[in-house]
């Protein structure tokens, strides 16, 4: 499914958080969002997920404007993994992931064995199947993050939005989650802080001050010049002798 944002704007209490964001993510692409703290990545993902109605502009799924759809219809196509979502309920991992089936269930369409299979697959995808019966509050931060991703996968979305999903994850699970996300045959928008991980996306966009200031292929975008201007760091690119891929090294700015 193609995801398009047209001239999106968003503000809270008169403070503009997003302005004039234009964006197209082609079906099946993984689009990385990078940018400093407070640059508007989370706000943009919330608008793309239909959690907030934009003050101006619109979001399109293929050619369908998001605001013409019911929340349930959106949730049948779009899943969001928020940065922080916690609960005090005594609830198992399996129950959390089962929540992902909510948009498809109703009084006339009760829980089925198919839902069981989808939940089991989602748990396996994030390497949490062995913890299905564990209680939420006994999990570590990284485990919780993986459960949230599994919950989103259980929605079987055509568009997956992830807000810094690799926070809290150990390096092995950072890599496996990114690998999993890239291999999914669906449209993905993912915000990332690790710029070397962002290099693995199909395309990336750079956010700064609520605007999408640049987007394109990672190697065209993440130049030393850009890193200095937007992120305030000096960087140089070195070639990995093993696979020839480019790696960035960062030095503190003045």
């Amino acid at each position: 499914m193609r995801l398009t944002a047209e001239r999106l704007a968003w503000s809270v209490h008169g403070t503009p958080l997003l302005a004039d964001v234009n964006l197209t993510v082609e079906p099946g692409q993984t689009f990385g969002l990078v940018g400093p703290n407070g640059s508007g990545k989370t706000s943009l993902l919330r608008l793309l997920a239909g959690l907030n109605r934009p003050k101006a502009g619109r979001v399109l799924m293929d050619s369908q404007p998001l605001h013409t759809l019911k929340q349930r219809a959106i949730a049948q196509s779009v899943a969001l993994v928020e940065q922080q979502a916690d609960t005090t309920d005594r609830i198992t991992v399996h129950q959390v992931v089962s929540l992902g089936r909510t948009p498809f269930l109703s009084a006339l369409r009760p829980w089925s064995t198919e839902d069981d299979a989808i939940v089991a697959q989602a748990l396996a995808d994030v390497d949490m199947a062995h913890m299905a019966d564990r209680l939420w509050h006994t999990l570590s931060g990284g485990e919780r993050q993986r459960v949230h991703i599994a919950r989103a996968l259980a929605q079987q979305p055509k568009i997956l939005l992830l807000d810094e999903p690799t926070n809290h994850l150990d390096i092995r699970h950072q890599l496996s989650i990114l690998e999993l996300v890239r291999q999914l045959p669906i449209t993905v928008v993912i915000s990332l802080h690790d710029l070397n991980q962002a290099m693995e996306c199909d395309r990336i966009g750079v956010m700064d001050g609520g605007r999408l200031i640049d987007s394109g292929l990672p190697q065209d975008i993440l130049t030393p010049n850009r890193l200095q201007q937007t992120f305030g760091v000096y960087a140089h690119v070195i070639d990995d002798p093993v696979d020839g891929k480019q790696v960035m090294r960062f030095h503190s700015a003045i």
């Binding site: 809270v12 005594r90 609830i91 198992t92 399996h94 129950q95 929540l99």
Partner: protein
């Protein structure tokens, strides 16, 4: 931790115990009818019920029949409805507002009902045309309306994280509204009430089932059933709020209409109950927490279990209120709080430890 909680992954299917619900409820109702100042044997109760319900003609003592049918049974049924409604309102508010301390009186309902009742009974509002119950009902809705407006005003124009802020606004508005109406109640009592009136109204404020008759049953039963059906219908929505309103929205819940409808429905049901029996405390707070401890926090199980537990708890409390001191009926709110407060403390401590 009990096995039910750690191995709760079968939540979707763990409803086999449901058949026991009517059995327990009927047992509780019969107990509520049998136990009292004059104990009545169960076989007499069954005969009276058969005479009344299916038109049999067993010979029974007419005084016994009167006590059973006109007094105790209607009282037990209303107690059950009230317990169910208050407990379910607690479940809904705790789920939607993501606050374990939320209870049905949070929204100003008991405070408003008290003010309404006092305005009618003491200050003579309506010049005898209004009953105490109607005054309480109107007061409850008025207070709830003010709380909602206040919450809405505090909440307007808020952007990101709307779920968290909306929940906070309702709680704060509820506290403000309750304080206002409690002050009004105190004002009216000190200004106009005689000592005897003050004593009478205090009884009502702590919950009083003494005046309950069949007319109240015809109001309480539909209200309680309505509350139960609304909760059951929206059980998945309630589950979806586990990680807050934003998370619920991202899983397809139309947060504003669903949350608004559920809260209004629960406020109405609570207002009906409060207007019949007064403000019975602690049911909406303690019962949901206690039941969660046993059946877990998924609403497919929690809603029916809480409905049953609330009903049984209030029937039991009513029995205690009648037999604890012979020759005297305690306000039922005293019993529920005397049991509820320590129970709540126990749940709090054990919950933290495990």
């Amino acid at each position: 931790m009990s096995i039910a909680l750690t191995r709760a992954s079968s939540a979707h299917f763990g409803l086999r115990w449901l058949w026991i619900t009517p059995l327990v409820l009927v047992t509780a109702l019969i107990a509520g009818t049998a136990i009292g100042e004059t104990p009545i044997p169960v076989d007499t109760i069954v005969k009276v019920l058969a005479n009344q319900l299916i038109g049999t003609d067993y010979p029974v003592d007419r005084i016994d029949a009167g006590i059973i049918w006109n007094y105790r049974l209607s009282r037990a049924v209303v107690a059950a409805c009230c317990g169910t409604s208050l407990a379910l309102a607690g479940v809904v508010l705790q789920a939607l507002l993501r606050n374990p301390l939320a209870d049905p009186y949070l929204m100003g309902i008991s405070a408003g009902a008290s003010t309404g009742a006092v305005a009618v009974a003491v200050a003579g509002l309506g010049a005898g045309a209004l009953s105490l119950s109607l005054g309480a009902f109107v007061g409850a809705l008025l207070a709830f309306g003010i709380v909602v407006m206040l919450a809405h005003a505090a909440n307007s124009g808020v952007g990101g994280g709307r779920g968290v802020q909306a929940a906070g606004a309702i709680i704060l508005a509820g506290i403000a509204g309750s304080q206002l109406f409690n002050a009004l109640t105190a004002f009216i009592i000190t200004k106009s009430a005689s000592a005897e009136q003050a004593r009478g109204i205090m009884f009502w404020l702590m919950g009083n089932l003494s005046g309950v008759r069949w007319a109240d049953v015809t109001l309480a039963v539909p209200a309680a059933l309505f509350g139960l059906l609304v909760c059951l219908w929206h059980r998945r929505s309630l589950d979806a709020f586990t990680f807050g309103a934003d998370s619920a929205a991202s899983m397809g819940i139309a947060v504003r209409p669903v949350r608004g409808m559920l809260i209004i429905a629960m406020a109405l049901v609570t207002a009906v109950m409060v207007s019949i029996v007064g403000a019975i405390g602690f049911v909406g707070l303690v019962i949901p927490h206690a039941v969660r401890f046993i059946v877990g926090s998924r609403h497919t199980r929690l809603v029916p279990a809480t409905a049953l537990a609330g009903a049984v708890f209030l029937i039991g409390s009513d029995i205690l209120s009648r037999v604890l001191i012979s020759g005297q009926v305690l306000p039922i709110g005293v019993i529920t709080s005397l049991i509820g407060a320590p129970a709540f403390a126990l749940i709090l401590v054990r919950g933290k430890r495990s």
